[in-house]
């Protein structure tokens, strides 16, 4: 039986959305490990709650959007159109992450 969720569409949309939400800091939610609290990503940061963790929320945003797209779009069309070029999407997302994190590595080059 064919799955209703398109794995190729899910992965491609996930990679694109992950890079975008990382660039614009749009996690679905934040987690504050010092106080053990969650807040929605669009609410103001909690004062005096320590550092916020966005990673879980970034994956949740990318996963939710990708799931929606994977339910709407069909694999056959996308996989055929991008046959043997599908790998460009994860590679692009990985390179984008390094680019967005470049600020941490500046001290190595000064």
């Amino acid at each position: 039986m064919e799955s209703r969720i398109s794995p190729v569409v899910f992965a491609l949309v996930y990679c694109i959305v992950y890079a975008v939400v990382l660039a614009f800091d749009w996690p679905l939610f934040n987690y504050y490990p010092q106080v053990g609290e969650f807040t929605w990503g669009w609410t103001p940061k909690l004062e005096g709650a320590g550092p916020a963790m966005t990673w879980y929320g970034l994956m949740a945003t990318a996963g939710a959007v990708a799931l929606l797209a994977a339910l709407i779009l069909r694999d056959k069309v996308v996989a055929a159109a991008l046959r043997n070029w599908l790998w460009l999407f994860p590679l692009g997302a990985m390179l984008a992450c390094v680019y967005f994190m470049r600020i941490f590595f500046r001290q190595l080059f000064i």
Binding site: P33, Q34, G50, M53, Y56, R83, L86, P90, F104, Q107
Partner: protein, 156 residues
Amino acid sequence: MITALLILHGLLAVALLGALTHQLVAVLRSGAAVAAAGKSTFLGRYASVGQCGFTTAVVVLYIVTLVLGALIYPTYRIDVRIPFEEMMLYWAVGVFEVKEHWGGIGLGVLPLYAYVWRPQQASSHRRDRVVVTALLTFIVWSDFIAGHVLNNIRGL
């Protein structure tokens, strides 16, 4: 408890990178001539495995390893990252940031990985199969090495 989880996380990562590396070497050496000529060598025997058989194991190991990493992460954020920042080791913070984001991207790529390893995609998506497997292998190896280096600087 966190130390036990960290050790388990590391052990599962070893199993994962072993499975992915084995599969990648096998698919890179799967040309008929290479396979026929190389069975007597160590690399030939290493590569002569059922490549598709690794896929489910890789997906399960990746998810379990990532979940364990996600459980450990809050402790890192409080007990390790803040001291890194106080020591002005911003490159170490950056290495962890890249590690976590590549790990997160790898999670989303798993459905594509499973798709390209379906037997019916063997010829139509050959390049996707090789490169996606190589990317996942690279993510797991680099995350593993980054985790060890950072844990050596300041352990949990």
